[in-house]
Amino acid sequence: MAMSQIKQVVDNTLPESAVSTRNISKNYGDVEALKNLSLEFPRGQLTSLLGPSGCGKTTLLKIIAGLLEPTSGTVEVNGQTVKGPGPDRAFVFQDFALLPWATVLRNVAFGLEMRGVAKSEREAIAEKYIKEVGLAGFEQSYPHELSGGMRQRVGLARALSVDAEVLLMDEPFSAVDEQTRRKFQEDLLSLVQHENKTFIFVTHSIEEAVYVSDQIAILLPRPSRVHEIIRPSNFRSKGVDNIRRDPEYLDIVDEIWASLRTYVE
């Protein structure tokens, strides 16, 4: 009895937080985009920010990135208060944000270039990550010669190559087609498993959030707040092919839809 209780306690203990947001508020004039929002992002796991459009999920992500300043509240990464962008975080953009005049190699190495890494060294690192995301052979191609899915792989390789602890992804798969997206989602699961990084993932797709996340934060708008935090427990270990027909997966998708339904106009 005593033993099983202890085990229970251990199981429920979250890993420590890599990122925490404390009482974040963000106002645009009179409009409250975020109000008093606090969230913990466990280290080494993927947390999704999910909610209807206008719920402030991208705003929150950009505040964590240091691209936007909160009106009040603080963001901490590894216990350090965020004052702006830093090498501990890397961003993956919805519209890829690639330099159209630069090759894939230079695009992937751009983050390292900004950090003053020598050319030969950063290109060697970039080549490694270009291979890792499956774009070997495209090093000298330009973004306009690639498909949408391949472009986002470039964006992902650029974020990985700076070796930040925290990866911030802003609806990264929303601009690619359905089949590419499924492949991306599977790749993302193995990335979370093999890279010891903390992922914060913004999406508006319920299925996508449940499929890839260790923790899902449901955000509701007007004023924006955290409605619920869901931590799926057991289907992830059953393999990527079985997730979508697992009863728990289906239940969570339904449950989230039930709570979001009234907010979608």
Partner: protein, 250 residues
Amino acid sequence: MTLFGYRLPGMSSLIVWGLLWEIVGQSGLTFFVPPLSEVVATLFGVIGTSAFQKALAETAYAFIAGVFFAIVIGIPVGILMGKNRLLDEMLLPWVNVFLSAPLTALVPVLMVLFGFGMKSIIITTTLFGIWIIILNSRAGVKQINRSLLEMAHSFGASPMDAFFKIYFWAALPEILGGVRIGVIRAVKGVIIGQLLISIVGFGALFELYSANFLMAHFWAVLIVLFALAFSISEFLAYLERRVSYYAAKR
């Protein structure tokens, strides 16, 4: 264009116009238009003379210096205007005024301020070319994709990095378009300067030939000038095509 199944090379229509010129010239309709063949013969004669080479050197010097300042000042000012709201509000009305103003009327003022020498000619050249360069650089920066700037910021780009590695390249297609038009206007500026401020360079040759009714010489120098301006413009158009692969995909 194809004619009787043959593909005609570019600018074949010039042959037709050249023939027309020759016919009008041979007919002796007016002393103002000597036959093209005579003009071309004069052209080769004139090019070798020291007067022509001196004029070319003087004009090239004023032109290159004027364009240099127009570009080196115009591009950064335009980019900064596109970036900075306050600077934009301050300068944009002036840029628009000078772009459309008849700058020739300003030349006497320049003469009072800067004298009758090369300095005034160079400033005139710069004034003709710079405004469209500023305006186009500004327009290029205005259309930059916001997320490119956020991307650079998120990876820790310094303001200098952002300026030289994002703003400049993202605005380059518009900048080159502005430089091409600015350079064409600068050709106007340098000739007007040489005619009004001090009679040197090609301006002096034009004065000399037209005053003495040396029409073949006059046309010959004009053809040289047109050809130079056209070549520079085509070279810049070629540079524009070099960056067009990404111009449509920013």
